[in-house]
Amino acid sequence: MSIELKNITYTYSPGTAYEIHALKDINLEIPDGQFIGVIGHTGSGKSTLIQHLNALIRPTSGSVLYNGEDVWEEKYDRRKLRSQVGLVFQYPEHQLFESDVLSDVCFGPMNQGMSREEAEAEAKKALLQVGFKEKNFSKSPFELSGGQKKRVAIAGVLAMNPKILILDEPTAGLDPKGRDEILDQISELHKARGITIILVSHSMEDVAKYVERLIVVNRGQIAFDDTPREVFSHYQELEAMGLAAPQITYIMHALKQKGLKVDPNATTVEEARDDILRALKEAGSPLLKGGNEK
């Protein structure tokens, strides 16, 4: 089970003055069960890229294979593909339209052919799994806060039981706690349902904390595809692409430059804390209070 992109090229408005090569010769394999982050500056081509994954747009050239089958073959069931590869767009308020939350989440599974009862069962399961409280099921989606709307939008896709869940900046505009809650729940889903998660994000700190594989898109091409730790060690190249490393990475580099023997490639607060403590201990630093062995 996997998605494979082979020599994908995509051109907007081909043959006109506005022709833009959004993707150039992309090759990518997404095996089952990974937690993947996608970063890239605005206009780098990352949204175009993810829309190829569930056949929302057709590549100008190249092929998209799902479990080895070309999804643009004439007889391929792309409707089914789209229920297996779920996409949550950036603005959840744009994809909610029903009069109450539960009906909204039922829409997807009912479209797949489930009865209202079956769909409701799936919808309830999905809503609870994203941390949406049962007492709010009958509320209008328009009464909800930004964080709640995002949860409903994610549940709406989840209720279709996708094998792959793609989220385009699911936390934009959320407060820090809301952001952590949503990402923690996505991470839980990844573990509990074993589904592949593809997270598009502008927050380097978030991808450093959650993903196991990080894809960097730049000028329609894949610039890096590796672990976050490895990718962020190229922070100067990332900056040239309009991106950055997590703040932690900069701190660790600065410390190393000043002579503290730390691992400059730490990307999360916990990693950095443990590593700095180790380095201080080794250096016999007077900053460590009594109780710590020298």
Binding site: T42, D175, G259, P286, L288
Partner: protein
Amino acid sequence: MGIIKALKLGFDYFKYDDDGNIQETQRAVDEVSVDIQEGEFVAVLGHNGSGKSTFAKHINALLLPTEGTIWIDNMDTMKEPELWKIRQKAGMVFQNPDNQIIGTVVEEDVGFGPENMGIPTEDIWKRVDESLQKTGMAAYRHHSPNKLSGGQKQRVAIAGVMAMRPRCIVLDEPTAMLDPNGRKEVLEAVHQLNRQEKVTVVLITHYMEEVIDADHVYVMDEGHVVMEGTPGEIFSQVDMLKKYRLDVPQVTLLAHELKKSGVDIPDGILTTEELVNCLCQ
């Protein structure tokens, strides 16, 4: 008295039933008193639904108080004849750049505000030139706004507000939808306006890193101002901020964690330099 002064400001949202009767009242802002001086850079933090946007909309009289009073440059927003004058004093920039750009060419979009104010054409162009220069967007004046990046669009939106020559500019999560570079561009433009033009800035944000250079920080929760102080004072209270669903910059969090693990460093470290200097004495 500062340029923005609120005294026991309160605001209720109403929910109406089908017959137009009030069904439910929700207090979004409660007993908020602030006094913001001209030229200050002020940040407002608070979780989603804490009332910060509702408060911000009072600054240019998009919302009028249910209780209490707010004065912008000594003008009470409840006194209707002052309304348009107030809106010219206090400009607003919102979160989504695509929702606030109306022109088909950058310079037209920037000129929209002053044109509406009845400024003579010649002066409009002067103002457009100036504002585009101040936000670093002069090179894009003949471009179509929809071909710009998010950070550039926001800078056009800021230029559009600046062309109205406001004394105060309110930015409601202007960077929430931007990539790291776009965030940097917008923040630099705002700081520059504050420093060089002495424009009072009220910045609402969920990015704690954007707040460390502010003069003063307000934290809101359930409609109240629950904390206020300098960034150093605010961010030294990590646990308090977490309680209000907020966070601290990564460097502050790291320093806090190190301190908890027994390292002898002070509270409220805000920058990488501070931390590095503390650890590598």
